[in-house]
């Protein structure tokens, strides 16, 4: 592999890793930090992509569609937490598995009923549709650079909020001992609703951002779900930094694998995770 191609692939890997982080970011929050096992996370990603596709067609503007979709996702998150998740906090984790698998069924059915089963695509917003020259015969699309920057922004904001702010401490404390947090005068119920909803919104936003780069198809949610879990687990539960590093590693490794050992490229992230867990059974950045 020439040095130039190596560099190109490194850029590809980082960009893919950043997108992975964005998709996994909501999961890190809901699962890693709050400790709720939400298997329907992929469905939220799917919902985001479908919403932005739908509203982009209706409004004709990607930006308007993106904003609208994000707000709807936030509302959906609040609704789900209030109606369903909230009832399971003092129950076994496995009940959360069951509930959220039920939710996957429902979301898949709704997607098929509301939007049909055709594959869809969203075109890149005009303002970001150019590309910059990259190598001799390829160029790099501006939108993907823009998406990467958004991912970095969200990663930084999330890291700051969770590990440096009082809000972040409250969320983490809630995962450890809900009763005690409430006994310190915090409305943990609302706090959790909001944080869960933000997690859902992050998943939807990643769907929105990814929509112009990927295809919008039924079942798209499930296919990213496991990768997200791998990212979070490699990084170590509850660590935003870990998820970020995990996502970049997974992105870069699978990018190089796709070119160097294509037949193994699906397996490689599992092999990588197993190796990581054998060396550090609690992930890279666990305390």
């Amino acid at each position: 592999m020439s040095a130039e191609l190596f560099f190109v692939q490194l850029v590809n890997g980082v960009q893919y890793g950043l997108l992975l982080f964005l998709i996994a970011s909501g999961l890190t929050l809901i699962f890693g930090v709050m400790g709720i096992l939400n298997l329907a996370h992929g469905s939220m990603y799917m919902v985001g992509a479908y919403l932005v596709w739908y509203f982009a067609a209706v409004t004709g503007s990607f930006t308007a569609a993106a904003a609208l979709s994000a707000v709807i996702a936030l509302g959906l998150g609040i609704l789900i937490e209030r109606l369903l998740i909230q009832r399971l906090y003092n129950r076994n984790h496995l009940d959360q598995v069951l509930l959220t698998i039920g939710m996957i069924f429902v979301f898949n059915a709704l997607q098929s009923i509301l939007w049909g089963n055709d594959p869809h695509g969203v075109s890149v917003p005009d303002a970001l549709s150019g590309s910059i020259p990259f190598t001799d015969n390829s160029s790099y699309p501006i939108y993907r650079i823009f998406a990467a920057l958004i991912c970095i922004g969200i990663a930084a904001a999330l890291y700051f909020v969770v590990s440096k702010t009082r809000l972040g401490m409250l969320i983490r404390a809630g995962e450890s001992n809900r009763e005690m947090v409430e006994a310190l005068g915090v409305n943990i119920k609302n706090l959790y609703t909001i944080v869960f909803a933000i997690g859902v919104m992050l998943a939807a936003i990643s769907g929105i951002i990814a929509a112009p780069m990927r295809s919008i198809v039924p079942g798209m949610g499930e296919s990213v779900l496991i990768t997200c879990f791998v990212v979070v687990v490699i990084g170590g539960m509850g660590s935003i930094k870990g998820a970020f590093v995990g996502a970049l590693l997974v992105g870069v490794i699978s990018t190089f694998a796709a070119v160097l050992i294509p037949s193994m490229s699906n397996m490689i992230i599992y092999i990588f995770m197993i190796l990581v867990l054998l060396v550090k059974p609690q992930g890279l950045f666990s305390k």
Binding site: L94, D95, V97, L99, F105, V230, I274, L277, Q282
Partner: protein, 318 residues
């Protein structure tokens, strides 16, 4: 008494009586006998998972690895186009699976909790890709098993596996054996320590037990039973496919066992029947069966605190 709870005894008695009679009513319809057989085979698989998740405390999303392996091992180990003895090969396959489980177990049991879930998932996905990508084993399309093994013991043959009713009883026997095996193991002195290491691993270690070996043995037992279920399933339709190994398969089994009431073992049977029954019903009712299926799963989680058996116990236990 192996079956401690009244509800458990009532349920199992009812179940086995009905299950024994079912073919008498359905003889004419080989589809329903086949469907009932599939449900029984799944119940074996789900029971073995319930044992690991609910009783040993090993929440795995990679259990389907052994389910698929049971079928593939049959294809791999039997000579082509030659009728082999079912019992001998069942034992042979279970031994090989047990060995695989031992090796896998030594690796995965180094982690715990969510990390254990993920590492088991990873290993089963790897096996899935291995079989999916290897043309030799039929790739993504899977492989056919052309010959049904014969089931004679010392020259006496009671079962003809080509006969759906006979196969049904073989599966029912499997359910009984699995149930008894798990129950006996749980009641044993070994089972006491297994229970202890689930309830409080740190304390069990501090009492002088190497809980790793207890978990490992349990993992091997559960996995071997799953392989047996997988073998039966592969033989029923004469077909193996890598899809049997995916995490969705493990996930569905997990749903069935939680639905039945995790850790109750007999609940796994009830959960499997309910899940399969609902799916059959909704599928024939509407194209949007997923909506109803998902809706009823959600309702059941919200309404039943301890699964279906928890509800039954509330009714039947004084």
């Amino acid at each position: 008494m192996i079956f401690e709870k009244r509800t458990e005894r009532i349920f199992l008695a009812t179940f086995f009586v009905i299950a024994l009679c079912i073919p008498l009513f359905l003889e004419s319809n080989s589809f329903f006998v086949g469907k009932a057989t599939t449900v029984l085979i799944l119940a074996i698989f789900v029971m073995s998972l319930d044992f690991l998740v609910g009783r040993v405390g090993l929440v795995t999303l990679g259990h389907a690895l052994f389910y698929g392996l049971g079928g593939y091992l049959f294809v791999i180990l039997t000579p082509e186009y030659e009728a082999v003895n079912f019992w001998i090969y069942a034992i042979y396959i279970m031994c090989v699976s047990a060995f695989v489980a031992l090796v896998v177990g030594v690796v995965v049991l180094r982690t715990s909790g969510i990390y254990f879930i993920m590492i088991t998932l990873a290993i089963s996905q790897m096996a899935y890709y291995f079989f999916f990508d290897s043309l030799h084993f039929g790739g993504g399309d899977g492989l056919f098993i052309f010959i049904k093994p014969d089931t004679s013991i010392f020259g006496l043959s009671f079962l003809n596996l080509d006969n759906p009713t006979h196969f049904y009883y073989l599966a029912l026997l499997g359910v009984l054996i699995t149930l008894l095996t798990i129950k006996i193991v749980l009641r044993s002195r070994f089972g006491r320590i297994v229970e202890a290491s689930r309830l409080n691993p740190a304390r069990t270690e501090a009492l002088g037990y190497n809980i790793f070996s207890f978990k490992l043995i349990s993992y091997v037992i559960g996995s071997t039973l799953a392989a047996y279920a997988g073998l039966l399933f592969a033989l029923q339709y004469g077909y193996v496919n890598p899809q049997f190994m995916t995490w969705e398969m493990s996930g569905t089994a997990l749903v069935m066992s939680i639905l039945g009431g995790i850790g109750t073992i007999y609940g796994a049977i009830l959960g499997t029947i309910t899940y399969e029954g609902l799916q059959y019903f909704f599928e024939h009712m509407s194209e949007n069966w997923m909506l109803f299926m998902g809706g009823s799963i959600i309702l059941m989680v919200l309404l039943l605190r301890k699964g279906l058996t928890g509800y039954l116990e509330k009714l039947l236990e004084k």
